[in-house]
């Protein structure tokens, strides 16, 4: 496979041609913040936190779904990007009802960590305070739409790893929301195998183990990657 050479933040980097800017940057030890990206499932480019600047390209490009190209000059940490990232995180907080203090994921939340990483000390936008439901109809798990950031990780792990495709996104724009099966309560979703991968995948406290209380929902995302690696590389087979 052909190798491309490019610079990321003025650092010369070489990468395989099928690699994304995000992968190339991570291999080179350059961190780019992400939220919807999850190892083991396809990249979606939903959250826009990994936007980078590329010399000669007027628009910003999502690093998770943009392949490397020969001679590319990528900038991951400009003033403009920092400001946009902060703005994105603020908008995520303003969009739904995120109350860290009483959330099951407090202290173990990727959204919370991002807010700290981008230096969000307040939200400049008016909170929308939408009235959203908590679905606790499943016997083991619950989904609180107040805490959902629509990263679609649950949709992808359920479809790509478990193969059940219980989750989907319904609605458009601000009305987009996660649904189970054909928009039935989770407890009635016959496709759900109760495997719990969506619980591990969810970056916030939106999907949680029923009965979890404040700060108790610790998620282990390496398990997902582990399953995919085991399945694809079959290193223990034969």
């Amino acid at each position: 496979m052909a190798v491309k050479t490019l610079t990321i933040d003025d650092k010369p980097v070489s990468a395989r041609e099928d690699q994304t800017i995000l992968e190339a940057a991570r291999e080179a030890g350059i961190g780019i913040p992400t939220l919807c990206q999850l190892s083991g499932v396809a990249n979606l480019g939903a959250c826009r936190l990994c936007l980078v600047e590329v010399a000669g390209v007027p628009k910003l490009l999502p690093a998770c779904v943009t392949l490397v190209q020969e001679g590319m000059q990528v900038f991951t940490n400009t003033e403009r990007l920092r400001e946009y990232r902060k703005m994105i995180v603020e908008l995520l907080f303003a969009e739904r009802n995120h109350v860290c203090a009483v959330c099951v994921a407090n202290g173990h939340c990727e959204l919370q960590n991002l807010a700290i990483a981008v230096g969000m000390d307040h939200v400049r936008y008016s909170y929308r305070f939408p009235k959203l439901e908590v679905d606790t109809t499943h016997e083991k798990f619950g989904i609180d739409h107040n805490r959902c950031v629509l990263c679609a990780r649950c949709v992808r792990v359920c479809d790509e790893i478990e193969g059940a495709h219980t989750w989907d996104i319904a609605g458009r724009g601000a009305k987009s929301h996660i649904i189970s099966d054909m928009n039935v309560p989770w407890g009635s979703a016959t496709s759900c195998t109760s495997c719990g991968k969506c619980v591990q995948a969810c970056p916030t406290g939106a999907i949680f183990k029923l009965g979890a209380t404040v700060a108790e929902q610790i998620k282990d995302r390496t398990r997902l990657d582990f399953i995919v690696t085991a399945r694809e590389k079959k290193q223990w087979v034969g």
Binding site: A101, E133, V134, D135, G187, L210, G211, T213, V214, E216
Partner: protein, 472 residues
């Protein structure tokens, strides 16, 4: 013309409030009111949340007594799961509540109220506070602060943080007691005992000096309510409810928290955000009852620990219940003593180091009431959930609320004794405030509710006619 004196804000209490004193044509006090001016809304915004979250959410009602809410909420949750928690979980919850009683009572006595007794009700208000106390008696202030820290550390050892630990959950508790924590709590008990003894002796000596205050600070007959354990022993977490009258006759006993609506009514007045609970069989306002340390000492038959029992027999009047609200202070110290003795016993209990902590169950009951004795008195959490455990109804009856009628009577009684005409000395007004401090009210807790609450100011003439009404 009639006049009104306003004390705003009332200081050295937890929360925001003001007091209005109404004067008649001769400048004599005709009435006084204690207005609670803050507003929360917990009962409404908790609707729709899974009940498992409630200990964590309701803990946020208060930074002083979050544990009381955590425990009452977890107990209501136990009821929804329909489980009996393990002996270890129960004893650990009790241990945490004793830590809470110790720290909150120490705060009330040393930080908030003792500046009045030790520096004097009439001393300079600029230094009549905990900093003035530190200057006047650094050793005592240090001891008071350390006693509070001891209680806080008991909480922190169990819950992982001093405030708002969502540690007790429906079905039990989250984490066990460690051997290290047990050893440290044990090692620090002697100092805590010593401080409590010093404070008790000091307060008893001061009673001679403040006989007048003790006599008129909310000294009136009323009912008292609190939990009692088996054989009428002092109780703070389990047990059943008992009402006694001002002569300590038991008027109702073995009441279950889940039936609270049959014996407690809640009245509303347009001039306060705080509801006015009353004992239903006697109506409002005749069914005025008090809760908290004084009430718990009046309702129980004995404390159940040797040192506290000795203090209780000294505390009790021969003729019945202790009716002066000023004696809440002494009751608080006796309760600290009892809490420390009980902590000592619990630390040696073989169950306390157990690892069966949390029962697992689904939604088995759609309605439940949890009760605990908060430092300030009996606390009820009443939940109704749907079959998936989402809250459809929340009612919280808070200890400070249950003292509301009594606090208003106390304010009026003190004002009548000390206020003569519109020109009032600061020290006199401080006594009115100090009357409120006896109850150690926690207004952040008690105004958790959502309800219709127009704000109204009435100016009332001597003949009872409303001469001016300002409303919004």
């Amino acid at each position: 013309m009639s006049q009104r004196i306003v004390i705003d804000p009332v200081t050295r209490i937890e929360g925001h409030a003001k007091i209005s004193i109404f004067l008649d044509d001769e400048g004599q006090v005709s009435d006084a009111r204690f207005h609670v001016t803050e507003y929360r809304g917990f009962e409404k915004f908790c609707e729709g949340r899974p009940f498992w979250e409630m200990p964590g959410i309701t803990a946020r009602i208060c930074g002083i007594c979050p544990i009381s809410h955590v425990l009452a909420s977890a107990k209501a949750g136990d009821g929804i799961l329909a489980v009996q928690i393990s002996p270890t979980a129960n004893k650990l919850r009790r241990l945490m509540n004793l830590g809470q009683i110790t720290q909150s009572h120490a705060l009330s006595f040393f930080h908030l109220s003792s500046p009045d007794f030790l520096l004097g009700f009439d001393s300079d208000p600029a230094t009549r506070n905990v900093f003035g106390l530190i200057k006047a008696d650094p050793e005592l202030a240090r001891r008071g602060i350390r006693l509070r820290q001891f209680g806080q550390d008991v909480i922190s050892y169990l819950g992982g943080s001093k405030i708002h630990p969502a540690w007790a959950t429906p079905g039990g508790v989250r984490t066990p007691l460690t051997e290290e924590a047990r050893a440290d709590i044990k090692a620090r008990l002697p100092e805590a005992f010593e401080t409590t003894r010093i404070a008790l002796d000091l307060f008893k000596k001061l009673l001679d000096k403040y006989g007048r205050e003790a006599h008129i600070f909310g000294n009136f007959p009323s009912l008292f309510m609190g939990l009692v354990g088996p054989n009428g022993v002092w109780e703070h977490h389990d047990g059943t409810l008992r009402f006694v009258d001002s002569s300590r006759n038991i008027i109702a006993d073995n009441l279950q928290a889940r039936d609270y609506q049959s014996f407690i009514g809640e009245a509303v007045e347009p001039w306060s955000y705080l509801k006015f609970p009353y004992y239903k069989p006697m109506g409002y306002p005749d069914g005025c009852y008090r809760v908290g340390p004084l009430a718990r000492l009046n309702v129980c038959d004995h404390m159940g620990t040797p040192q506290a029992d000795k203090e209780l027999s000294e505390f009790r009047s021969a003729s019945g219940a202790v009716n002066s609200s000023f004696m809440y202070h002494q009751a608080r110290l006796i309760e600290i003593l009892c809490a420390l003795e009980t902590i000592e016993i619990l630390l040696d209990d073989p169950d306390i180091m157990g690892d069966r902590l949390r029962a697992d169950a689904g939604v088995n009951q759609l309605e439940s009431v949890g009760v605990s004795e908060a430092p300030r008195g009996t606390l009820f959490h009443h939940y109704k959930v749907d079959r998936d455990g989402r809250l459809e109804f929340v009612n919280l009856i808070i200890s400070t609320g249950q003292n509301n009628v009594a606090m208003n009577r106390t304010v009026a009684q003190i004002a009548r004794h000390y206020v003569r005409g519109p020109k009032v000395e600061e020290g006199m007004l401080n006594r009115v405030e100090a009357g409120i401090r006896c109850f150690d009210p926690c207004l952040s807790c008690s105004t958790h509710a959502l309800g219709q609450m127009p704000l109204e100011v009435d100016i009332v003439s001597a003949d009872g006619e409303v001469i001016r009404r300002i409303a919004r």
